[in-house]
Structure formats: C-alpha cells, structure tokens
C-alpha cells in the first residue's frame, strides 16, 4: 500500500476514534426527562421518556389516554380540577383534560419560553413556572394567559419555586434566592446570595428555607437573613450534593443525598439526629405517607421508615423493596401504595404493607407508533 494512502487511512481512523469518543459522552446524551407520577382519583398521571403524558387506570392498568408533547418532560404532572398540567423541555406548558387528554391550552400559544425543568407550582388559581430563560412565569390556570413574568433572575432556572403567603421564593444554580410578589412578579427587598450555587429547589418550613448547594451541604436560610442559620454537615462537606429537595416533618429535616445517605437533621439547630446509608445515590425527594417516610434510591430500592416507632432519636426501617429499575423521578404515595416511574419507562406500584411490587405491574409507557 502506498504511504500517503496509508497515512490518510490512519488519520481518518484516528479522527473517527475521536468523534466516536466524543459522541459517547457528549451531545449523544439525549435528555429523556424524569417526570414523576401523580395519583388522583384512581388515575396515575406520568410522563414518558419520549415526551408523552399518560393517564393510567390504577385498577385496570389500562392506559386511558396519552398525549404526545414535542419534547422530554421533566415536570411531574399536576392535577387541578379537570385539568392536568405539564411543562416540557421545549419550553411550553400544556393543560390537558383529565378525562381524555385533550389540550385545553398551551402556553405560549406560539413559540416557546426556555426549557422547563423545575416542578410546576400551583397557588391561588395561578400556575408558577420557572424556565431556563431565567424567568418565572405566572399563568392563569383556566385559559393559560400570562399574568406576569419576572425579570431574568439567572442564566437559567432549573429549580422550582416555593410559595408562602404572598411571596414566591426561587433558588438559582448560581447561588441566589430571590423573593417575588406572587401578585405582580416584582422583586421584593429580601435577597440571599450564597458562595456556592444551589443544587436543589427550596422547601419552606415555618420561616426557613431548606435547600442543598453544590458545596455538598444542606442550607437552612431564615427568610430576611443574609447568612445561613446553619449548614449541614457542620464539619466538612457531605459525600455529594443534596440534589433532591428535603422533606420537613415535626421539626426534622429528612434529606436524601447523592452520597447514598438519608440524613435526619434537627430543623432548628442543624444537628444530625440519625443517618441511614442506602449505598446508592438518592435522587428523588422522600415522600411522607402519614408517619411513614418513603425513600427510593437511584437503583430503585424502596425504603420505608416508621418515624414514630423508634426511640425518638432514630426511625425504624420497616421495609426494603427493590423494584428492579432505576429511579430518578419524583414519586407519589397514596393509601399504602407507592407509584413510581422507573428509568426503564415503566410505572410500578409498590405495596408497602406487602413489601412488594403489586402483581400485574409494571405498566410500560412505551406506545407503539
């Protein structure tokens, strides 16, 4: 073989190698969304990895309807009245009828806002949407009209807002918390600036916001203050980010961490009460079911804790139930059953009392085209 040809072939082969290597970890990692489940009146609402919104009859396991949006869905469906709402990664909010999945309105009617990743929030007949264009939008829930939009707050907003009274609080990836008027969207006086960016959406309990930051700590920030009330852990960082918003119950913060641990922390002081090591990252927020705390790790193992059965300083682990699929999305629980969407695009129903996945589930969300 002639040398120039050989060199050409080698160069092309090396180039291909580089491109293949780039493809493995770059843009080839297509977003699939992690819409969770909502359970309302016997119907499970879930988003699929290909951008569909589904309504599944929990008794018959039939998919009653599905609606194909135009992009991956990260927001867990929200049901209010006769409509179910989702936001898409293409930057559109859909309001669909719960009976047949017919679109009632889409915002914006033409074009799009920035990608919607954070959970939709409903209060006072208004839907609040944080968008990757850095703004918060307030929409009329009946007609999808824009009530207001905030000024750009960050490069992008991937977190969801939280509302208390007439104030909306939103955290940003670059480490700020803004307070906005829920009526007008105007920025209020209080503003919090952190050294590290915020990895999670805030949760509000009393007058305190709890949220995780990229410095591997959970922060308690009293509204009106410009320094954190506490940071957890006090000594050194945790093993990874507190990605999921924590749950606060009876003065205790239950925070799942990407280091695979569930931390129980005293809300007032930030003192560690107990810690449970699941061994795998906890991506989804814990869910309360009465006095039971449900936690699911990324490998799909469901942990059920009894918060009252312990001696006071420790919860009792009642059940460990593997569902056999990875879990990154939020999940819902109702009447002893947990509804989970797995990363394999299937919905599982877990019976907490029986300690197993209910017979006949999972239901695949894949629809033949």
């Amino acid at each position: 073989m002639k040398q120039p040809k050989l060199l050409s072939l080698i160069a092309i082969a090396l180039l291909s190698l580089v491109l293949v290597s780039c493809g493995f970890s770059g843009r080839a990692a297509v977003s699939g969304g992690w819409a969770g489940t909502a359970f309302v009146d016997g119907i499970i609402y879930a988003g699929s990895r290909d951008g569909r919104v589904m309504a599944i009859n929990a008794s018959s396991k039939d998919i009653q309807w599905y609606y194909a949006t135009d992009a991956p869905v990260y927001t867990t469906p929200i049901v209010d009245g006769d409509l179910v709402y989702v936001g898409t990664y293409s930057g559109r909010v859909y309001a669909l009828t719960i009976s047949r999945g017919i679109e009632r309105w889409i915002y914006p009617r033409a074009g799009s806002i920035g990608a919607i990743v954070g959970r939709l929030v409903v209060a006072n007949s208004t839907m609040y949407v944080s968008s990757s264009d850095g703004r918060v939008y307030a929409l009329d829930m009946t007609y999808g009209d824009l009530r207001w939009k905030s000024e750009p707050l960050a490069d992008k907003l991937w977190t969801s807002p939280v509302i208390q009274g007439d104030t909306l609080y939103v955290s940003t990836l670059d480490g700020n918390i803004y307070a906005l008027s829920v009526e007008t969207g105007e920025l209020l006086d209080w503003f919090f600036e952190s050294e590290a960016g915020f990895a999670s959406s805030p949760v509000i309990y009393g007058e305190t916001l709890f949220l995780g930051s990229f410095d591997r700590r959970l922060n308690a920030i009293e509204i009106g203050s410009d320094v954190p009330a506490w940071k957890f852990p006090r000594e050194g960082p945790a093993g990874n980010w507190f990605w999921a918003p924590p749950v606060v119950h009876r003065g205790i913060v239950y925070a799942g961490c990407l280091d695979g641990k569930l931390y129980a922390i005293e809300a007032q002081t930030g003192a560690e009460l107990w810690v449970f090591d699941a061994g795998k990252p906890i991506v989804s927020s814990p869910v309360l079911l009465g006095e039971l705390l449900i936690v699911i790790d990324e490998s799909g193992v469901v942990y059920v804790f009894d918060l009252l059965a312990g001696s006071g300083d420790r919860a009792v682990l009642l059940r460990t139930i593997p569902i056999g699929a990875g879990v990154r999305s939020s999940f819902s629980a109702h009447n002893g059953l947990v509804y989970v969407r797995g990363e394999n695009n299937s919905v599982y129903v877990v019976d907490i009392d029986q300690g197993e996945v209910v017979e006949g589930w999972p239901v695949s969300l894949a629809i033949e085209k």
Binding site: V18, F24, G26, A29, S31, W158, E195, G197, P281
Partner: protein
C-alpha cells in the same frame, strides 16, 4: 470505562473546573489554559513528532528525486525510499506514534469539556458523581458557559468554524510536502482540504467549547512548529508554473 474515568477522565474534568474558578469563573479561559498545559506536558512527544516531521521535510528533495527516477516502478521506488529512510535514521510513521500516544488525552479533554458544561439536567446530575470534594470545584459549579461572543455549550458559529478550519489548514500546510507523483499530489491535496473542512463542519455540530479547544490547539501547534522546524515550512504560495526542487541538499 470506570478505569478510564478514574485515571484520566475525572482528574482532567476536575482540573478543568478548578481552573475555571481560579480564572475568575471563565470556562473559556480554563479551556485555553488547560490546552496550553496539556501541550506543555506532552511537549517531549510533540518535539519528537516535529523533529521527525522536520527530518522528513529535509529529505523531500531526495524523495522527489527518487520519485522522478523510479516513478514508473512503484516497487523499486518503495525499496529506495525505505533505504533512504534507513540511512537517515528516520521512521516515516514516526510522526504518527506521538500523535497516537496523545490521543487518549485529547479524548479525555473532549469528554471533560462536554461533561463540565452539563447542558442538560441529566448531565448536571451525572456530573455530581465525577466531581472531587475540592472547594474550588464546588465553588465553580455551575460553570459560566459564555466566553467572548460564544456560548460554549451551544454549537459554534461561522466565525469559529473559519478559525478552526483555517488554523488547521495552516498547520497541515506547514508540514505537507508537495509530491511529484500526480496521484500522490491529489491525495495530499484531498487530505489538506478534507480535515479542515470536516472540523469546520463539526464546529456547527459540537459545543463551541470543543471548537475553542481545537482552535487553540491548532494555534499552539502552528507556533511550536514554526519555532521547532524554523519557519513556515511548506506554507508558501506556490505558483502553478514553478516546479518543485529536485536537487538534494
């Protein structure tokens, strides 16, 4: 893949992010500085490659003479050329081996840039599992993807594509000797155009952070080549009426 990430991927990713923090939060500057550092670390290999290239350049008159003499007898030509290489102590593929050794670093850098930018929520979540608990890394997240007129997480524009393609063409042209054999000449011409065009085209497809790396890497390559080989090499405006020199040294 886990071993790859442990040894090369994750260290490079964390250094890139830490650099971004140390350079005032500019991810673009971090890419440039890391590219320079990598080129410095791999300097012994680059030097060897350039010396090999220079030796090949110096042998071109003799090679062209052989090509003229044995152009019709390919087998004889190959034998004579190999003899010439042996006598000069040059391995014609010697310039490729250093490149091969550097490829894993380049691939890891490509991956680090794309991982660090975390353009989707999944990317950001996956990034968490690859970061060290260094303070400078924690403080740097999320990275500012804006640099000059570019959004480093978005595909590049025509200006960047021209810079990438242009610098690559210059770098290649500096080392590519003109061939006497018309078939070889057409292959050389094709290669000289194909790679810059391909990378220029890829600039529109990949995040511009990568294209920035390509452009900076090319510019460093041109500068080092200029100083090591002592000039612009074959980067001359050649007249179609001028024939290539045939005399030996």
């Amino acid at each position: 893949m886990a071993v790859w990430n442990l040894i090369i991927g994750n260290p490079l990713l964390n250094v890139l992010i830490a650099l971004s923090y140390l350079l005032g939060g500019s991810f673009g500057l971090a890419i440039i500085v890391l590219t320079v550092i990598i080129r410095l670390v791999s300097w012994p290999l680059t030097k060897r490659q350039l010396k090999s290239t220079k030796a090949m350049q110096e042998m071109q008159p003799k090679i062209q003479e052989l090509q003229k003499k044995y152009g019709r007898n390919q087998q004889k030509l190959q034998q004579e050329m190999m003899k010439l290489y042996r006598e000069a102590g040059v391995n014609p593929l010697g310039c490729l081996w250093p490149m091969l050794v550097q490829f894993p670093i380049w691939i890891a850098l490509y991956q680090a840039i794309m991982k660090a930018l975390a353009t989707t929520p999944e990317n950001l979540l996956d990034l968490a599992q690859r970061l060290y608990s260094w303070n400078v890394v924690s403080q740097a997240i999320p990275l500012n993807s804006h640099f000059l007129w570019l959004d480093l997480g978005e595909p590049g524009d025509i200006v960047l594509a021209i810079i990438v393609g242009g610098t690559m063409w210059v770098q290649q042209k500096m080392t590519q000797a003109p061939a006497v054999d018309p078939r070889q000449e057409s292959t050389s011409r094709m290669m000289l155009l194909m790679m810059p065009l391909m990378f220029g085209f890829l600039t529109f497809m990949f995040p511009s952070g990568l294209a920035l790396y390509w452009a900076v890497s090319n510019i460093i390559g041109i500068v080092t080549q200029y100083f090591v080989t002592g000039g612009w090499g074959y980067l001359k405006i050649s007249s179609p009426f001028r024939t290539a020199p045939v005399k030996g040294k």
